[in-house]
Symmetry: C2
C-alpha cells in the first residue's frame, strides 16, 4: 500500500483544516486571486467573491471536521463534516485544482436544502 | 509527479463509470451486502436500501459524466456531474471505503435542493 502526498493534496489539507477550524483568512491565503468556484449557488469568480462565499459560512460554523483529503500533485478532494446552527453532520466535498501553488479552481459540493429550509423558516 | 492507482480507486472508478452511464446493477455488483451510506436524505443500510437509493436516480439520468476519481488502496472519492430532467450540471461526490474488494461505506454528497424544488413544483 503506497500513499503519495502531492502538492495539491498538501495545500488542500492546509486549506480545509484552516477553514474548518474557523480561520477563513488563512484558507483564503491559499486561494488564487483569479479563482473560479462552481458552488451549489452558482459560479463565483475571483478571490473577493470567494471570500464573500467562504467567510460567512465559516462564521456560522459550530463545529468543523476534516474527514479526509485525497489527491495528488495537481488535484485533490477534501471531505468534511460541519455542524451549523440549524443542521448537524452536514457532509461536503471540495474538488480542488492547484496551479502554481494556489487553489485555482474549486467545485464545492454540499446539500443546500438545510440552508434553504432555515431561511424559509426565518422569513 | 507520481500517481498511484490503488484498489479502492480502481473499484470506485468502475463503480462511478457504471452508474453514470446508466448501469445501476453493474455499479451495485461492486457494493457490499452490508453497505452503509450516509446520503443527504439520511442513512441507508444494506444493499437493498442502497439499490432503492441508486437505481431510481440512475433511471432519471439524462447525462452523466465522471470528472475525477482520486484515492488509494482503501478509500477513494468520485467527482461527477449529472443532468437530470429538472437540473443540469449538478455536481456530486462520493467518498467510498473499500473492504475486501467491495464498497462498504459511502458518504454521498450532492445538493438536494433542485430535487426538492422539482417535487414542490409537481405537487
Amino acid at each position: 500500500m503506497t500513499t503519495i502526498t502531492g502538492a495539491a493534496q498538501t495545500i488542500a489539507g492546509e486549506y480545509v483544516r484552516a477553514w474548518t477550524s474557523g480561520d477563513a483568512e488563512k484558507a483564503l491565503s491559499l486561494v488564487a486571486d483569479d479563482v473560479v468556484c462552481d458552488a451549489p449557488s452558482g459560479r463565483i469568480e475571483g478571490i473577493d467573491g470567494y471570500r464573500r462565499f467562504l467567510a460567512p459560512f465559516v462564521g456560522t460554523l459550530v463545529k468543523g471536521e476534516v474527514l479526509d483529503v485525497l489527491g495528488h500533485d495537481t488535484r485533490a478532494v477534501t471531505v468534511y463534516s460541519v455542524d451549523l446552527p440549524f443542521v448537524q453532520n452536514l457532509h461536503g466535498a471540495e474538488y480542488l485544482t492547484v496551479t502554481d501553488g494556489k487553489i485555482s479552481h474549486v467545485i464545492s459540493v454540499f446539500d443546500m436544502s438545510p440552508m434553504l429550509k432555515a431561511r424559509a423558516a426565518q422569513s
